[in-house]
């Protein structure tokens, strides 16, 4: 019985170690590629297929990259991420996994309705649900900071749904 248990433990440990080393590979790969890119030609970033996901090829500065989209919108009193939001976050997660030294701040916001401190909590919940998706896609918790401003920093002025829908958001700030 004792023997059996420790064998299970061993299998688990191997699995954990394998998981660690595989993410380690993913993290190291593109960084060395970028080094190569700068030393050679600059366009060499595109050769980053060395075992990591293709999402890491996107640059933060490229306005045509999905990474240029850094706002996820929400329904009223909800922290649920839409399918479009999920797709966008996969791109951001890919970039962050490929660039483990890059840090992102998730700023949660709400519309102006209701009480202010409740909105702080709601903005926090929105930012945390983004954080969860990023982490499920392999982003290290240390790369993420969460802050909620509730209704204190609106993106759009005006008290109608047109403004409110733009204010119920999480901004990804690199």
């Amino acid at each position: 019985m004792k023997f059996k248990l420790s064998r299970v433990m061993l299998v688990l440990m191997v699995a954990v170690m394998a998981a660690c080393s595989s993410t380690g590979d993913k993290q190291e790969g593109p960084v060395s590629i970028e080094d190569r890119g700068t030393s050679a030609d600059g366009s060499a970033v595109s050769s980053g297929a060395a075992g990591s996901s293709s999402f890491s090829n996107y640059s933060l500065d490229d306005p045509n990259s999905p990474l240029a989209q850094r706002v996820i919108y929400f329904e009223y009193d909800s922290a649920e991420i839409t399918m479009d939001g999920q797709d966008l976050l996969v791109h951001h997660a890919g970039f962050l996994v490929a660039n483990p030294t890059v840090h992102v701040t998730l700023e949660g916001h709400t519309d102006e309705r209701g009480s202010r401190e409740y909105n702080i909590a709601l903005g926090d919940r929105r930012a945390l649900s983004i954080q969860r998706v990023l982490e499920l896609n392999g982003v290290a918790p240390e790369q993420i900071t969460v802050v909620s401003y509730g209704e204190e920093k609106s993106a759009a002025d005006g008290n109608s749904e047109a403004a409110w829908r733009l204010n119920r958001r999480v901004e990804l700030l690199y």
Partner: protein, 422 residues
């Protein structure tokens, strides 16, 4: 950028406008006070300050200056039968004298016109700076004598303003007299400031500042401006609320991953967690008996108010009407709870009577929030909208009388009424 200021008192930044009158107010004449001194007029018009105070209560209505039939400044000049003709129940007269040493003396009397007798006669030696305070104190004495309820004119309001474009905003935390005069900026920041809360002795204000681009709770002495950081944990540091004895703060922290209510000992910083749910728990306020905390939670699926014993235990739901009830304030007698009540897309101030269980909506705005009881429990000040601007309003607890307080420019929000002057 952050500035701590003990600024010079400016004149009224908040102007007050009575937007809904009250039937059956007590009619009172306030006669301009006499003046003796080496200037043409007294530095403050005490009768005007007192008259504005009394009208703002909604319980007393003063006679317009043009309807004053005489200008007595001493009791033996009062002709009771003449004042009965203009249908006033009571009369306020007084005198201000400026002394050679720069001090002042204020004398006032309150007369019952119907019975023809003096109700109060009093005098106050004072300074130039305290003349308005003396006027508010006289208003308190008159109000208490005529209504039987303690006056709250000699109190203050703390509030937050924001101005500037969305990219370049400036936020200030201010303290003003309850009539909007003498606004003093106690903090300026280019990041949001929110949730001011008075200590029960009125000497300190706790608030949330995002000056480091994270939420932190500070407590600041109002008079000196000195402050210290009280909470800067990972995540939310919000919704500070002083215990009735001033030794503890209830607050919201999400350091364990979810917004929960904690009780912090102010001097030692020791924390005790009070709630435990996977839902949002926030906006704690103490009941005056210090036995319970009332807070907002969406544990039932949407934001509603709950009550939990301060020592911990099962939370009891208090609100059932409407899809959204949040941001509670408890009346000074502990029998009423004011809240933001969301129903049919409108957010209004409502009051729950704990004895009867009846909920009553007091305001008619689409976006009203941040209710705060006056220390005598007669009025509630709150934040509302006038067009796209954020302004303050006050409403009597029975909903019959309303007034608006607006800034000349910019937005004003999160009003909190100070405790009684001690």
């Amino acid at each position: 950028m952050l500035l701590l200021l003990a600024s010079n008192p400016l004149r009224a930044a908040l102007t007050i406008e009575i937007t809904q009158g009250m039937e059956g107010a007590i009619p009172v004449a306030v006669v301009p006070f006499g003046w003796s001194g080496n200037t043409a007029a007294a530095p403050e018009n005490l009768a005007a300050i007192i008259s504005a105070d009394l009208n703002r209560s909604g319980r007393i209505e003063t006679l317009a200056d043009r309807d004053l039939i005489a200008h007595p400044t001493e009791g033996d000049q009062v002709q009771f039968q003449n004042w009965r003709m203009v249908k006033v129940d009571d009369l306020v007269i007084g005198k201000v004298s400026g002394n050679a040493d720069g001090t002042f003396n204020v004398q006032f009397e309150l007369y019952d016109i119907i019975r023809g007798k003096q109700l109060i006669g009093s005098s106050f030696p004072t300074s130039r700076e305290d003349l308005r305070r003396v006027a508010h104190h006289i208003s308190d004495l008159i109000y208490e004598k005529l209504t039987g309820e303690k006056g709250a004119f000699n109190t203050q309001i703390a509030y937050v303003t924001s101005s500037g474009s969305s990219k370049n905003k400036s936020y200030t935390l201010l303290v003003a007299d309850s009539d909007g005069y003498n606004p003093q900026t106690i903090l300026t920041s280019n990041q949001p400031l929110m949730s001011p809360s008075w200590s029960p002795d009125g000497r300190q204000i706790a608030y949330v500042s995002f000056e480091k681009k994270l939420a932190e709770i500070y407590i600041q002495e109002v008079a000196s401006g000195s402050r210290r950081k009280l909470a800067a944990f990972k995540g939310i540091n919000g919704a500070p609320s002083w215990s009735p004895n001033g030794r503890q703060l209830a607050l919201t922290l999400s350091r364990d991953g979810n917004p929960e209510i904690y009780i912090m000992d102010v001097s030692s910083g020791t924390l005790r967690r009070l709630t435990s749910s996977s839902a949002i728990d926030t906006e704690p306020v103490w009941t005056p008996d210090a036995r319970s905390i009332i807070f907002t939670s969406d544990r039932g699926g949407a934001a509603q108010l709950y009550r939990v014993p301060v020592g911990g235990g099962k939370a009891q739901r208090l609100t059932f009407e409407g899809k959204y009830n949040a941001g509670a304030d408890v009346s000074p007698d502990g029998r009423k709870i004011a809240m933001v009540h969301g129903n049919n897309g409108n957010y209004r101030i409502a009051v729950l009577d704990l004895d009867s269980g009846l909920l009553r909506t007091l305001t008619d705005g689409p976006l009203d929030e941040s209710p705060s009881f006056s220390p005598n429990g007669s009025m509630i000040i709150y934040a509302t909208r006038a067009g796209n601007r954020e302004v303050l309003s006050a409403v009597s607890v029975d909903g019959r009388f309303r007034q608006r307080l607006s800034l000349q420019a910019g937005n004003v929000r999160e009003p909190v009424w100070s405790p009684f002057d001690k």
